[in-house]
């Protein structure tokens, strides 16, 4: 009791700066019946990271995303976002907290235009009440116009302004992928999760995508967590990587370390005979 710290004596500037992790998984586990899809996975993502989550098919990468975004409730462990426990929150609440995602199998709002898709992303920051919308009150009109403007700007980032009024369903595959990113960006998240953003893209589209992802991080200051199969793409883009295999974390570190990690090579190429 006598050693009670007198805060007025502490010079804040002299304290070592320990940044708080943006997202922290501690022993996150989910079990479906007898199958443990994700087992005791722990990693930390710092603000501003470009973080990669890789692993062979069925390693539990997307399940891991589903845990973070609230599609599944973890059966064990904790998931902290900005220091707050978010495990088991429903997806819309997590989106509101500042985590947004794209989907492996594209899930756009098909019948809506590209612009409207992105506007939906901005919807969670809405301030006017539904009643003002139903009455077409000036505040609701103004807000809609603002959302439209913001959405247009985001479409410009992903280079889709020319198809803003095309139906999302009618867009070619690569553009749909980029539109999903723009839509997720519209929620103004602090952490953006990209689930296999480069899947099915040709080399040129991949290069464009790489630029978009870098721009999201550097220009907009978002933290990015991405799942990807294309090793070249991940190694060339991410600064930190976690490798999953059979739901377990087998390696973590910068790309140079991951590349030469025997466990990773084994997981990807099979056991050496």
């Amino acid at each position: 009791m006598s050693e009670h710290l007198d805060l007025s004596q502490v010079n804040v500037d002299e304290l070592p700066v320990v940044p708080n992790p943006l997202l922290k998984l501690e022993g996150a586990t989910i079990q479906f019946g007898g199958l443990i899809a994700v087992n005791q996975v722990s990693f930390e993502i710092m603000p501003g990271d470009l973080f990669g989550l890789i692993g062979p098919n069925g390693a539990g990468k997307t399940t891991c995303f589903n845990l973070i975004t609230g599609v599944y409730k973890p059966t064990g462990g904790s998931i902290k976002f900005e220091g707050n426990e978010i495990a088991g929150f429903n997806p819309s609440k997590i989106a509101r907290a500042g985590i947004c995602r794209t989907f492996q199998n594209i899930r756009l709002f098909g019948a809506l235009s590209a612009l409207e898709n992105v506007m939906v992303g901005g919807y969670l920051r809405h301030k006017t009440s539904l009643l003002s919308g139903l009455a077409l009150w000036p505040s609701a009109i103004r807000e809609t116009e603002e959302l439209k403007e913001q959405a247009m700007q985001l479409l410009e980032v992903v280079n889709l302004t020319d198809v803003a009024h095309a139906r999302a369903r009618d867009l070619p595959y690569g553009k749909q992928r980029r539109l999903e990113i723009a839509r997720a960006m519209a929620t103004n998240p602090r952490l953006i999760l990209l689930d296999e953003p480069a899947a099915g893209m040709n080399p040129q589209e991949k290069e464009e995508l790489k630029e978009v992802v870098l721009r999201i991080r550097d220009e907009f200051g978002k933290t990015v967590l991405l799942i990807e199969h294309d090793m070249k793409f991940v190694m060339g883009l991410c600064e930190k990587i976690v490798v999953l295999d059979h739901g377990e974390e087998i390696a973590a570190g910068p790309p140079s370390e991951i590349r030469s990690n025997p466990k990773v090579i084994e997981a990807y190429l099979g056991e050496p005979v």
């Binding site: 756009l108 709002f109 939906v120 006017t128 139903l134 009109i141 809609t144």
Partner: protein, 402 residues
């Protein structure tokens, strides 16, 4: 936006809507027979029902087929309150009617809340079954309540005919749905229809959105029910059977799920098709029926063939469409005339009135074959579209079928 200007424009449009409805009421009462006035009244009711179901089914994508239940809740609320409380109330007839509309809407809204809640866990067919069941439960409860008149119905006084209120309600219902789609609030509803998982990942509250759609849709149906009850002075459970729900659903699907314009057009058309033959009192001979049937079959098969196989220039395609749309039914009529004039088929005649449900069925089949997405698809009426038509770039296929 300039607030002063906004209120001026809004005040003006509200005034136009009210005055327009009053004028319609006056004109109908003055110049039309009672029977036709009743049809105009019912047309307004059906527009409200179809547009409000469209909010639940078409815009939010919750497959509900128990809309008659909300209609019924509104009607019985109005009827029961009038029967037991009208005499004691200080309100005049019209004020009472407005109060009943609000009461019917409120109670139906509560019913909408009750049905909306399970919709969080149920999708597609399963939700459809629940809503269907709800509709039947409400009806059976009423049948078994002697206080509500049971199966023989509930009579009450006074009857208040609010034709202008019916149409004002229809206008408000259309306006509310259109406003919703004009602002970003509507996007949340559309997003839920398109993909629930993605909508949730975008931070849209599924519970709130679905339940809101049910409550608003049900409240409008309830208001329509209250108006119907007050107009008739007598209601019974048979007025709200399952087939009413299906008729409303057909209107929504036929018009194009999600399209407000489509719902309005389909409501008017489907309502008019069984009623018009009754007014026209025409006898048709078997010869004409055969000719017209042949025309309809030829019309559908040729147009479908054209839709699927034609890949040539657009202008020529339109010419062919117009030629088919105009030519084939005329050819059918011609064939009918030939048969009528030169064969004994003219001896056998039918009253058109008796064929009204056949005509309805044929219309449904033809539209669903030629435009399965509904007459309007996801589109809405817009002045831009009118301009397009007037300047010559005419989407013939849509125009001709509607």
């Amino acid at each position: 936006m300039n607030l002063g200007k906004f209120f001026a424009v809004r005040g003006f449009s509200v005034a136009v809507a009210i005055l327009g409805c009053l004028a319609l009421d006056y004109a109908a009462q003055t110049y039309l027979q009672d029977y036709i006035v009743r049809l105009v009244f019912l047309a307004g009711i059906y527009i409200t029902l179809a547009v409000s179901l469209n909010l639940i089914n078409g815009i939010t994508g919750q497959f509900s087929i128990g809309h008659a239940a909300f209609y019924m809740v509104g009607a019985y609320t109005g009827g029961t309150l009038t029967k037991f409380f009208y005499d004691a109330s200080p309100l005049g007839a019209v004020a009472w009617l407005i109060a009943m509309i609000l009461a019917g809407a409120a109670l139906a809204g509560v019913a909408g809340l009750l049905v909306g809640l399970p919709s969080l866990r149920l999708r597609g067919d399963y939700l459809a079954i629940v809503t269907l069941g709800f509709g039947e439960i409400i009806r059976i409860i009423v049948i078994n309540q002697p206080e509500l008149g049971g199966s023989s119905g509930l009579g009450f006084a006074p009857k208040v005919q609010g034709l202008w209120l019916v149409w004002l309600l229809a206008v408000i219902c259309v306006a509310v749905c259109r406003n919703l789609l004009k602002t970003s609030h509507g996007l949340a509803f559309l997003a839920v229809r398109e993909d629930e998982v993605a909508a949730q990942a975008m931070g849209i509250n599924l519970t709130k959105t679905k339940v809101t759609a049910f409550v608003i849709g049900a409240a409008f149906a309830g208001a329509a029910g209250a108006l119907l009850a007050m107009n008739e002075g007598y209601i019974n459970p048979d007025l709200f059977k399952m087939d009413v729900s299906f008729l409303i659903l057909t209107m929504v699907v036929l018009g194009g799920a999600g399209s407000i314009t489509g719902s309005v057009l389909a409501a008017l058309t489907l309502f008019a098709i069984p009623e018009l033959p009754r007014l026209l009192k025409i006898d048709v001979s078997l010869a004409y029926l055969i000719g017209l049937t042949a025309g309809a079959i030829g019309f559908v098969s040729l147009l479908r063939h054209h839709q699927q196989r034609y890949h040539g220039p657009k202008a020529k395609g339109r010419m062919i469409t117009v030629a088919t749309v105009v030519g084939v039914p005329l050819a059918g009529l011609g064939l009918g005339w030939l048969l009528h004039t030169f064969t004994y088929l003219s001896d056998q005649t039918y009253e058109l009135n008796n064929l009204r449900y056949v005509i309805l069925a044929v219309t449904l089949i033809v539209v669903m074959l030629l435009r399965p997405e509904g007459v309007m698809g996801h589109h809405e009426f817009s002045w831009k579209w009118v301009q397009k038509v007037l300047t010559g770039r005419k989407p013939v296929a849509e125009e001709s079928i509607s």
